[in-house]
Subunit: 422 residues, 2 copies
């Protein structure tokens, strides 16, 4: 039995730029048809080193070395005792960050969009009515997802940069009799943190579940799942939590469980079916069964993200984001820039929307800042496209020194970019 | 403006076992309702160190340090120029590993199950007929997924450890007139590598797409997407590729694209909609738009996994798995153990199924080997549950010295575990 000399490279710890490419030896006894004809791509034969960048867009935000280190530990099985223990720790971390005692608490094995579909797929059946508060792109996406599964979708629409009142919500609840109300708490496209108080009670009075997206706000702005009567809450890993994207915490109240575990039809997705996910995460009384292979390394990172939050303290985190955002907003106004969200109380402390400076091409500004300062900031999205610049300062990025760095970069950009229009 | 002393810990590079837990200071001007009441979980206040383990189950397999290092590079934005370049490299890597020139080639932002749903959700519309070859758990799961979206599902069932003939497939194609035929190439539950030659032609003659699952076989057993007429092929990152779970390569032929981009209905999932994913991965002619936040760190790892495969050579990888599997199978038979798959040609070179040793409790054997040797091997799954032990030797784990280690561990287990039944 012969061995390919190249196999010794498999476990090598560093890539070499002058790789010995193996000559492919035809396999004895195989038809000619079964020889390799598409050659190995040369782009893969050089190592790729990723640059460091200040991730001050709406996410992902920078991942601290401690979380990167946690994620690069040796792999374990998705049902090994240690993995199960880590998943239990994550569950506790989510309960803390969400301020909930819900047993039905876990992380979806995908990005925020997977959690969004998990929430909608499980809580709404075809033909049922869902009411969606659209105050930016996330309400639009929720509508699209609900339509695809055959729900009857109605919306209450806020003007970009604004929000809807509890009175408007109640009128719509009465009119459309939805089984679920969707609301985005931290609308990263417009920079609005939507008021939440009182809406849970309204929903419950009208026999409706309250579903909240907190991808861009969790741990950056106060949110109390249980006290505020939120029935389904989800977030992403890559914003304030500072973990890499790819896992998405979610939690369901007892009231939500009553509905989702008494459905007439199966959810369209097996991968996102809460009956299976609940078991995989030990939220029921049955022994854990194989459902899918979770992103084990992503769970290692996510656990570390929650460890940092537990050490920092949730209230300290809220306070940090509030103070840094206010300091940033003052600095922007002192430069003569205008904030997109006029109501100070409605400004999201994690993602700031700045009215695109008149006379400038916003794309030139973001490109200049990326190229000259290695800082990512972004333009608008959905209803704010072309209208704003967006700056995210989340988790470990939320510091006054980062604010000073961005303000200097913005001033530099306004000085060097073309002011062709007025 | 005061700063929490704890915030300095956010960027710390190592966790301390005696963490200074922050006293939560009530926020001035906030209602009492908005104070934190669920305390931070104490389980998160200690660092968690993951043990090293030999991952010789059906996956995930061990991740070499080089791939772990790639995945722990600093995060980038999901649409940064470097990320796009890395995604292009991954695409080339997939084309090589799949032996395809398909332009519509990308990685799904989730585990193999997400790719499986992506394949089915996009290629089958409600009411259409799908034919599924069930030769183990993966055919069962594909059936379940297709049923959930309202497809008409018919199956051809092989006995556990066996496979179906092209004649049986053709008869079923004639009978059920499916738009898609699903086949699992590497059936990890039974240890069968299903023959593929000729089936693509049969499907095309009967106006049907040929969809193949290669999660457990890719790069471990010969597969030629283009030459074998496979229209949709997907795999996972955590088997032979040795990357962490959480990304799933997939590719669509021109014939498949003709169908999926001319649907009457939208796929049920926005997250897995190929119209969006094609754009996100630069497979169409439009500028890339934001769809969802991809698992950027997972892409770094996956690129490195394909770099190793390109250096090793696909044919060498096939040869390595074949030779190591044969060496393993000889060793097992020499010990008096019996292989579950009788037909030598149908034995999967990546995952071996061993008939559960008569008189023993298989669970005691796997637990003993895990505890005493830090080696994961597993029991059966689906139709093979309770009937087999499963051993996976994939990618960097596929070596003769690992075979020797497992054979010694098995011999030790048979000596020390209870032989209560005969």
């Amino acid at each position: 039995m012969r061995w390919s000399v190249c196999l010794a490279q498999v476990g090598a710890t560093s890539a070499s730029s002058s790789v010995d490419y193996c000559q492919n030896v035809p396999l004895a006894g195989q038809e000619n048809m079964l020889s390799e004809t598409i050659p190995p791509p040369t782009c893969l034969l050089k190592p790729y080193v990723v640059p460091h960048r200040y991730m001050f867009g709406p996410g992902p935000s920078n991942v601290p070395p401690r979380i990167l280190a946690a994620g690069s530990q040796p792999i374990l099985g998705h049902l090994h005792a240690e993995t199960v223990e880590i998943m239990n720790h994550i569950k506790s971390g989510i309960q803390y960050a969400f301020q909930t005692n819900n047993r039905m608490t876990l992380a979806v094995s995908g990005p925020g969009h997977a959690a969004m579909e998990c929430a909608i797929f499980n809580s709404v059946e075809p033909g049922e009515s869902i009411l969606i508060v659209v105050n930016g792109i996330w309400g639009e996406r929720a509508s699209e997802m609900a339509e695809r599964i055959g729900a009857r979708v109605n919306t209450v629409v806020a003007s970009p940069g604004g929000y809807v009142t509890n009175k408007e919500i109640e009128q719509a609840l009465v009119k459309y009799k939805p089984v679920v109300l969707f609301l985005c708490h931290g609308e990263s496209s417009t920079g609005v943190v939507h008021p939440v108080n009182g809406i849970g009670d309204l929903c419950h009075r009208h026999n409706c579940l309250f579903l909240v997206d907190s991808v861009a706000s969790l741990a950056g702005a106060p949110l109390h799942m249980d006290k505020q009567g939120i029935d389904i809450l989800y977030t992403g890993s890559q914003k304030v939590l500072n973990a890499p994207p790819g896992t998405a915490p979610i939690s369901f109240s007892e009231r939500a469980c009553q509905k989702i575990f008494n459905r007439k039809t199966k959810p369209v997705s097996y991968f996102l079916d809460m009956s299976w996910l609940a078991n995989y995460w030990g939220c029921d009384d049955k022994p854990r069964m194989y459902h899918h292979t979770g992103p084990v390394s992503g769970f290692f990172s996510l656990r570390e993200a929650f460890a940092i939050l537990a050490e920092t303290g949730l209230e300290n985190s809220w306070k940090q984001h509030k103070e840094v955002a206010e300091y940033f907003h003052q600095g922007l106004e002192a430069m003569g820039l205008k904030l997109f969200v006029e109501d100070k109380m409605a400004r999201l402390p994690t993602v700031t929307t700045i009215v695109a400076p008149p006379g400038y091409d916003w794309k030139e500004i973001t490109a200049y800042i990326m190229k000259t300062h290695q800082i990512e900031i972004s333009g608008g999205l959905g209803p704010s496209a072309g209208m704003v610049l967006r700056v995210g300062l989340m988790g470990c990025n939320s510091t006054k020194s980062n604010v000073d760095m961005i303000l200097a970069a913005l001033a530099d950009a306004l000085k060097h970019c073309h002011k062709s229009r007025v």
